[in-house]
Amino acid sequence: MKNEFQVIADLIEKDKKVLDVGCADGTLMKFLKDNKNINIRGLEISKERVQECIAKGLTVIEGNAEKDLKQFPDKSFDYVILSQTLQAFLNPELVLDELLRVGKKAIVTIPNFGYWKVRFHLLFKGTMPITKTLPDEWYNTPNLHMCTIKDFFHFVKSKDIKIFKSLALNNLNKSTINESNLGVKNLFADLGIFLIEK
């Protein structure tokens, strides 16, 4: 399992009720179910991935987060997870609001467009950056609203969203992000992980 999922799993206590939005093939869900006795549900748009989840014995609903989160009642999950998907929505702000309505807390991870390799790529190659967390070409990327760790940090603050934990991930290295080291983390982390609450 990728390091990101391990970090997410560490943020969640045992026996909680969790919704994984954009759960893909259910790898994280399965881990949480098996290791932390989490009552886990998934929402996934791809029919193929939904089938993979069913084959793992996971409860998954085929659907689109931008339309289908509204069916869940307020605060009906202890945690709602959104892994590296926020930038792919037409309206990320609306999705974020929905995550925080449905979940008591939300865990949102974002691929960092401020990562130095991304900046170098654009600066020296002059083409749209391709990295491990941003593997697609400009013409076929699902990402519509790329942001940096700094952007996201400021965005949630401006919306009066409480940040419980913000973590920077660079390969296997995990570190805490705060106001004072934000500039540095924004340069050296390829992934940001935020535990937030409204």
Partner: protein
């Protein structure tokens, strides 16, 4: 029509009060089983059939000598694996394959015809519940069915919230739409317009309203398929002729196909049963039973739901299946949902649709492992 021989029948002694207000008792429920009930009695799956189905889910149907209606899904090593599970299916009341219905005789030994009480989906499942006692099953492992079978699934878990671990409604709805009712009414009008129908008092096979029933079946059959599926299978292909004949014979293959579907249906189905069962479907509105709040229907159950729809099903479209998912999510129920890609229309659940069959199998087998 009714092959009386070899039909397994449970006589329900207990009186059953029907939604119409009448009470029936000492009535027969015809059923069939596949696989074997284990010693813990925790491997039973109750399958509910659709409008024109019967208890012969798989293998050879002794009445028609054809494969059972869900042979693709049910059998050894299939999605509903009869090596593992004990499958029970019964003919609905109002039906014509041995269960209490309009072709049965009243206490005065007169065939009921339209004097048979109007039944509902609720009455059907209340009648079938007696099978659990009959087999000594405290809790089913699963209940499933497509179309009207799915309606019975929803009604059953609402009526008996702790009687099944898992619940799989397929290609169904919680409330019959105006379009659904309209198609059923078309079928009923075709039957009652047949001069042989005689207000339901036809008797012998020779004088039954076969023409009307065939037309009803033809119209309904179109609703089970998709436009794309029909176009691919038949297009404008001609039936055993080089050119149009400028007459009203079946020039086109699709005409010939529908006529055939109508004629074979008449051999195995009773026209009055068709009236009764379509009526039961039209009356089905689960939310209405709970003052318009569908979620209330499921609030007492901890069962694990898995809802399946098909992309090309326009009779019970994905949105109507999703409405059930939404109602369940709004009360935090354990519900999974998948829409299967298929060109085969509403009939997809009866056919060889690999993604559907594998989803069904995986859901059942994984849920059973967790038992």
């Amino acid at each position: 029509m009714n092959t009386e021989k070899n039909i397994k029948t449970l006589i329900v002694k207990k009186p059953l009060k029907l939604d119409c207000g009448k009470t029936i008792k000492d009535f027969p429920i015809a059923y069939e089983t596949y696989g074997s009930l284990n010693s813990k009695k925790d491997n039973a799956i109750l399958v509910f059939h659709a409008l024109t189905g019967d208890q012969y889910v798989t293998g050879i149907n002794p009445a028609t000598n054809k494969e059972g209606w869900w042979s693709y899904a049910v059998g050894p090593d299939k999605a509903i694996d009869t090596n593992k599970y004990f499958v029970i299916c019964s003919n609905v009341i109002g039906g014509c394959m041995g269960s209490y219905g309009p072709s049965h005789k009243d206490p005065d030994q007169k065939i009921f015809g339209t004097n048979f009480p109007v039944i509902t989906i609720n009455d059907m499942v209340n009648a079938q519940y007696n099978l659990l006692d009959h087999f000594g099953i405290d809790k089913l492992f699963s209940i499933t069915g497509g179309s009207m079978g799915g309606m019975q699934v929803l009604q059953f878990i609402s009526n008996f919230p702790d009687k099944s671990k898992t619940v799989i409604p397929i290609a169904t709805t919680s409330s019959h739409s105006a379009q659904n009712i309209a198609f059923n009414e078309l079928g009923r009008q075709a039957i009652t317009a047949d001069s042989n129908w005689k207000d339901g008092n036809y008797t012998s096979n020779e004088t039954n309203p076969g023409k009307g029933l065939a037309v009803a079946r033809m119209a309904a059959h179109i609703t089970y398929l998709s436009k794309k599926g029909l176009q691919e299978k038949f297009g404008r292909k001609l039936q055993e002729r080089e050119d149009l004949k400028f007459g009203f014979d079946a020039d086109f293959q699709i005409e010939s196909y529908l006529r055939y579907q109508g004629s074979v249906f008449v051999d195995r189905f009773d026209a009055n049963s068709y009236l009764y069962i379509t009526r039961a479907m039209d009356y089905f509105d689960l939310a209405k039973q709970f003052n318009g709040n569908l979620s209330e229907a499921f609030k007492n159950t901890n069962a694990k739901f898995f809802i399946i729809s098909f992309t090309s099903d326009w009779l019970y479209p994905t949105q109507e299946n999703k409405d059930i998912v939404i109602a369940l999510n709004s009360i935090g129920a354990d519900v999974g949902f998948v829409e299967i890609e298929s060109d085969k229309g509403h009939d997809s659940f009866l056919l060889d649709v690999p993604d559907f069959l594998s989803a069904l199998k995986n859901f059942l087998d994984k849920s059973y492992e967790e038992n």
